[in-house]
Subunit: 257 residues, 2 copies
């Protein structure tokens, strides 16, 4: 397929590389910032553009991978080409795009993608939605050329997945950073805690998290929790996080939500 | 070495197996509950006891791996044997034990250990502390027979490590469960989000968490955050967690603590 990337951020970068590796042709990479466009375009042997007036019409698919609030205005610039056009946003419904471009779809990779970290794209779950069955099928087949985990997910489900991803990825990563800060204050290397972080994630690959919860809250070890909140006395934000999450663990254990 | 396990919980179970595999002899396993003692004892070919009066004195090391608030009373029962005695608690200082038994130490595995999940013990960081240099050295050498990651950690550092572990492990695991609940409400399989959980942990094996933070908070994507908190309207606890952790990410990004 001939593919045009609109955007040069984390998602655009990983998608462009995955499509290129799977034998597709990346025609152009657009970014408002020519340097960003040029950097990604160089890696995937595409043309870099910073003006949507310079779109090469010899393409089969526009992938809009920009900030959520820029999707609509980009779509308005692309409507006249009448091409298959997808966005890659977890939080934006299909309707936002298909109201402008009827041949619309969504191509949402459910993974944390950073430019500076390679990822085996075959293991990245791709959530697909099309404005009609033909588009869905076309996107599904395209997705299967780059990933072994392709799912049909509608806009309501995708919104929930995106929220769940914040809890399963963005927040844990922040808590890793809190741990790093606590250790740094005592001059302890973050390296000591890396195996624990990895094992915690590996444990839930074959189990449900509720089956493998450990720590003072699940043991209802009040002395330790009291000592921990006292250690956080000078960090009221962290203390509140400690208390809220501990309460959540205790409540879950009692069968609550 | 001839080793006696006092306790039959998650930590005792993994330690007993690791020592047994490394060629040490597990003499006895004690638990107040004979069934628990017998189960672990069977796996490591030891004798099970549920009464500390039945301690076999032909042992080199007592490992006290019980609830933190039971350590002192157990130590008082063991003092007369005058053996090398360690506890395995992250939250308990050496002094609590060495005040009773002078030949005391700490043997703290910094890992999340569940009976139902195997772990490669060679990769488990072991934090060692001894009441004197000779004991420290002896524990260090013992630790090196079961793990490639042995660290000398004093009681103050261990307390911080234990707190950091709650943030790096127990809380992320709870957040995985929150994600599972959100998905379940929309009948989406937890399987979809497992690769995301694993990649999030793998990313920080070679990077620092601050370098790979993703999601709406770090992008300051206020529309998405507003949508998410609205989706959590019926879950005030989760909504508060969402807001606190998002604020933490935003504050961190601005160089705050």
């Amino acid at each position: 397929m001939r593919i045009t990337l609109i955007g040069s951020g984390n998602v655009a970068t990983h998608l462009a590389a995955a499509f290129k590796n799977a034998g597709h042709r990346i025609v152009q990479v657009y970014s408002r910032d020519m340097q960003n466009a040029a950097l990604l375009a160089y890696h995937v042997k595409a043309e870099a553009i910073d003006d949507l007036q310079n779109i090469d019409t010899e393409t089969d698919l526009f992938i809009i991978s920009v900030k959520d609030d820029a999707i609509v205005s980009i779509a308005e610039s692309l409507v006249r080409y009448k091409k298959l056009t997808v966005h890659t946003s977890g939080a934006t419904d299909l309707q936002s795009l298909s109201a402008i471009i009827p041949t619309a779809g969504v191509f949402y990779p459910l993974q944390t993608l950073s430019k500076n970290k390679e990822v085996d794209f075959l293991t990245v779950p791709l959530c697909i939605e099309g404005a009609n069955e033909q588009i869905t099928l076309e996107l599904e087949q395209l997705a299967q050329t780059v990933s072994n985990k392709v799912y049909r997910i509608d806009s309501a489900q995708r919104k929930t997945l995106h929220l769940a991803a914040v809890f399963a990825c963005n927040f844990p990563n922040y808590l890793y950073d809190v741990a790093r800060q606590l250790l740094q204050d005592q001059r302890i290397d973050f390296e000591l805690i890396r195996p624990l972080i990895l094992e915690t994630a590996q444990k839930v690959q074959g189990h449900l998290p509720g089956e493998v919860q450990t720590g003072p809250a699940i043991r209802n070890d009040e002395n330790t929790m009291a000592m921990h909140t006292q250690m956080l006395e000078d960090e009221p934000g962290l203390k509140m996080i400690y208390e809220l999450l501990s309460q959540g663990i205790i409540k879950n254990d009692k069968g609550g939500h």
